[in-house]
Amino acid sequence: MNTRKFKDVVAQKIMFLLCIFVVSLAFLIIFGLYHRSMPILAEKNLKDILFSAIWHPAQGQFGLAGFIVGTLWVIGIATILAVPLSILTATYLSEYSHRRIREYIKPIIDLLAGISPVIYGVWGVVAIVPFVRDYLMPFLSEKMPFFPFASDNYTGFAAITGGIVLAVMICPLMISIIGEVIRNVPFEAREASLALGATRWQTVKYVVFKKSWPGIIAAIILGLSRAFGETIAVLMVAGCALNFFPKSIFDPAYPLPALIANTYGEMMSIPLYDAAVLLAAFILLIVSILFNIVGWGILLRIERSQS
């Protein structure tokens, strides 16, 4: 075997090992976090941890329910805001707008995706928190003092603030995936609909959406998973009150990632504390892996059915 051939084969082996490394990385992360959260699972029932709301590390109480509910509030609000916004924007960009406009807007959306989460947090603190405190909260909470609006938290650091910031953060991802899915609908299908006298919106509604809804669902799932794991920005604006179930969009919420981030300094000092926090990270990991497998799985199936 000559040297050129030899080099080629060696490179092949190394590259193959790197591929194996990346694949095994996922399992390594799962195993590593599971292993570190074992101590608490050995002492306590997983059900007790998930459904108890009392978080008192010093007394050995590690209930995650409050954080899980906080997470659900924040990502619920973010989804309600971001999904219609992303679907409409993506539809506009790929079905209605001139190609030139799309070429101008796409880099802007890319830039929005590239901004650091901390910057979103700063923006939330200086812009969204006062907006919620001074306008949204007095307006909604006083006019409609019932279920999702009634609250006595007048600081502006609330679930809705986190939801608004998160909605802006997940829009770029959802817009780009939905746009791609919509553009993959065959051109002939649109032409057939337009030729029958349908308006553009009717074509979008009955032909484009009908053909691309699995992809849109996938985009929403991936957006949700992104929102689920977002840490710093939410931590800065959502209020984070311990041992508290938010009952209104204006109540403070304390999502799981924020809990993990907030405990980094103290968690080695109390027994089981680090295991509880890493269990929270493990839950986060499992949920985001499941969401991503479903989301990318749907997109992969669409791609394969087309080729």
């Binding site: 092949q12 590593g32 976090l33 924007t89 539809t91 989460p117 910057i119 308006t199 794991g229 986060l284």
Partner: protein
Amino acid sequence: MNRRKIEENIFRCFMVLSTFMVVGSLALILVTIFLKGFPALNLDMLIKTPKGGYYIGKEGGILNAILGSIILGIGATFLALIVSLPLVFYLNLYVRKKSKFALIVRFFLDVLWGIPSIVYGAFGFTLMIFFGLRASLLAAMITVALLIIPIMARSMDEVLKMIPFELKEASFALGSTRLETAVKVIFKQALPGIITSILIAFGRGIGDAAAVLFTASFTDSLPYSLFKPVATLPLAIFFQLGTPFPEVQERGYASALVLTGIIFLISIVSRILSKKFSKRIIK
């Protein structure tokens, strides 16, 4: 006007409105950061390290965090590049087009890409304990590298997929091996895209706070050793905003402006470089 036309117009209005809201929120973010940060920004902040009592309003700057972030970003990007570049060459040159293996690796990259950065941070923390490391520049570099490998590899993969098949065939037909084709032909052709991918990953690495929270810790001194804690810009912003002192919070806004400026600069540089290098590629 009939009902269909009205519906058409209503939804068109909604679409334009939501596009404006998405684009407008970016403008709003940039304007807010600029208006808040610019008055508080001064040269001292950029060229000094925090003196005693910096976080209660005494003098100093955030040079430690700026340098720390840049060094951390460069190191992590380098580590990620070592893994990603050969990986995508393998997926695009060494295996068959419809291979199951490539499909699996790509799917894992997608899934890894979706894992939140705080989870990478927690994993980095467990690795640190496992190897007996303390929170340090090295631990942070490894964690951030793991975080940006999927980002970099996925976007490089997109670039390599776009390379015309004929180019590979021409190179093989001249008798070159797959490695030679990769290094001498495909790499040159894909260089503009590869540079963009590297800079995207660099920007993400520099901006991420959650992954370095456990692994980098924080320090007031300049980064000088791989095995010592390092200050990062996102965390500096986070800590400064968390203090109750208005002067320090203002510096936090100024630091946010610096970080935004760096990310902007990266995006501009990537555009210029990819234009410059695309002169040599075969179209």
